[in-house]
Amino acid sequence: MGMSTGSEIALKGLTKRYGQVVAVRAIDLAIPAGSYCCLLGPSGCGKTSTLRMIAGHESVSDGEVVIGSAVVNSAPPARRPTAMMFQSYALFPHLSCVDNVAFSLKMRGEPRASRRARAMELLDLVHMADYAERLPTQLSGGQQQRVALARALITNPGVLLLDEPLSALDPFLRVRMRGELKRLQRELGITFVHVTHSQEEAMALADLVVVMNDGRIEQAGPAREIYNRPATEFVARFIGGHNILRAAIERVDEGVATLATEGDARYTLRGIAAPIGETVDFAVRADRIRLRPEGDVAGFGNVMPAMVRAVEYQGALVLIELDAPGAAEFSVTLAERAFDESPFQVGDSVMATWEAEDAHVLATSR
């Protein structure tokens, strides 16, 4: 099959209003051609509205959707180089797989023989050629999804838009289909925009993760950047694996800031820009924290006394929840082996320690 090339997408001041409710608040975003972009956020954050505006299934209240070099605000979906894969797949229940895939070619008036031949190529691409004459109800969820993918790809779109494509699958299948999606995107070289509320999914798939909240983009960047340097408290909480503390900046020496909490504990942090005296939130990665028995803390950077509230075995990791001063939730993940070397019980007093590099300051979420 012919290789299609991806289209780049630019959103400029894109806004969606439903009456008085603003679903998307003037967002700006550039999605490079041929990249895998995930719009990530809780329900109601505006990610689906954004996707639907790119697709042309929702009118744009304000701003612009640019695909390739053209502003497509008023173009119907079929006039855009996009194709959409719907959340529930939306396969036509009265049509066989091959007719579902060939549907858009039929709408263009392509003869039956050639459109079915092309549909079979696409079904082959998603390994569903053997099921060509089945009806959608005779397929499993994963199989339906493959057919929906083939249907979306048959027009050689430059952009494939996926609305929560994996949410209807069981966890096992979800991980497998995730791999399939990534493989297809790489092979076809087209731009994927994928809406999800699963940070795990976004991190596994995306070249560009766009974290949205309340109609705004909180942070957009590669997955590693998002996880290593969450920009705001919201991002840090949403992607998980971070503990959030609040403290005031006391002094800054050679780029290392010392912060004082309300409980008069002292922590050090690098790369801080806020003025002295300001109260800031900062995040500490849960997997970078070490636990030590009480007392034995000389020479460690940051030390927080705490008590073990719960220990949860998760397989490769052990999750330890702590009761710590000044933090409603504070958890540490240890590799199973590290935990086994010095196991702690619920109720033990411990010292949580981390290096200045493993914590960083967060901007306040708007």
């Binding site: 697709a55 299934h57 119907p76 979906p77 079929a78 194709a83 959409m84 719907f86 959340q87 529930s88 939306a90 396969l91 036509f92 229940p93 009265h94 549907f103 858009s104 039929k106 709408m107 263009r108 249907r151 027009t155």
Partner: protein, 292 residues
């Protein structure tokens, strides 16, 4: 108790089975039995004779290609049936489409639906008779047409004609088409319409390729309602046709009034067979079980 279901399931099914037997199976069996009985001017005689069936089609084969009375009557009934079916289908589908896809709020849908049922707030007969002052020689329609100068004399074809019969049928039975089709339409996942739009389908293509195929069960059920009612009707054709138009129902009614029960029963059995064949044909085209 789990291992021995015993009599309980049968007891649970018994009430419906009794009602079914009492009001459907026994009368039907009686009709079939009586259709083979003999009769004269004074009495009906238990017997087993095919005479009643023979008499119905007497001379029908000999007189071909001219149609005998029975075949003419069936043809006329089928003609009404087809006309009414086609018009109620078109009207019913359009109304259901409007209700299902254009009316967005559930409240408004309910209100409009209730408006559709207004004709059913009064009796069948009154609904029919109320057409007479409207369509008659000196009725409102003729008066209006004359006053507007559109016609020079009152139009006779408005009342006691094929036209008035079809009009009354459509008035009476369109709702039977609207309800099942609307029901089918409400089951269509709206994402399918979006998927069609995404695939570049025009409104008309979406209608033909997605909506109509998915409404087939509703269309079939509505068609069964309308076909069975019109095929068996004698009141509407009688009143609106000025007692001048023949129908199978009318034939049966006349035979009943002359106490020729075996002849009426034979006619009823034939009518039943014809209607069953039509329904069988419909269910061959459309699988209505999906809708039940």
């Amino acid at each position: 108790m789990i291992n021995t279901p015993g009599i309980r399931p049968y007891l649970q099914a018994a009430p419906l089975a009794l009602v079914f037997a009492l009001f459907f199976l026994i009368p039907l069996a009686l009709t079939v039995v009586v259709s083979f009985w003999d009769y004269n001017e004074y009495e009906i005689i238990p017997d087993f004779t095919g005479q009643n069936y023979v008499e119905i089609f007497e001379g029908c084969v000999d007189s071909l290609p001219d149609l005998c009375v029975t075949l003419k009557t069936y043809l006329s009934t089928l003609k009404f049936c087809f006309l009414v079916w086609a018009i109620t289908l078109l009207t019913g589908f359009t109304v259901a489409y409007f209700l299902a896809f254009h009316v967005r709020s559930l409240g408004m849908q309910i209100v409009l639906f209730l408006i559709c049922t207004i004709p059913f707030w009064t009796s069948n007969v009154i609904r029919m008779i109320s057409w007479i002052p409207l369509l008659g020689r000196n009725g409102l329609v003729n008066d209006a047409l004359l006053a507007l100068g559109l016609v020079d004399e009152p139009q006779e074809w408005l009342l006691f004609s094929d036209f008035s019969v079809v009009l009354a049928f459509v008035h009476l039975y369109t709702l039977f088409m609207i309800v099942p089709i609307f029901n089918s339409m409400m089951r269509i996942d709206r994402a399918l319409l979006e998927a069609a739009y995404d695939a570049g389908a025009s409104g008309f293509q979406t209608l033909v390729e997605v909506v109509i195929p998915l409404c087939k069960p509703g269309i079939a059920i509505g068609s069964i309602f309308v076909v069975t009612i019109v095929m068996g009707d004698f009141v509407t054709i009688g009143v609106m046709g000025g007692q001048q138009i023949a129908s199978i129902g009318k034939v049966i009614q006349v035979e009943m009034s002359y106490l020729q029960f075996p002849a009426a029963a034979a006619n009823a059995v034939i009518l039943l067979a014809v209607v069953l064949m039509i329904i069988y044909g419909l269910t061959r085209i459309v699988d209505i079980r999906k809708e039940l």
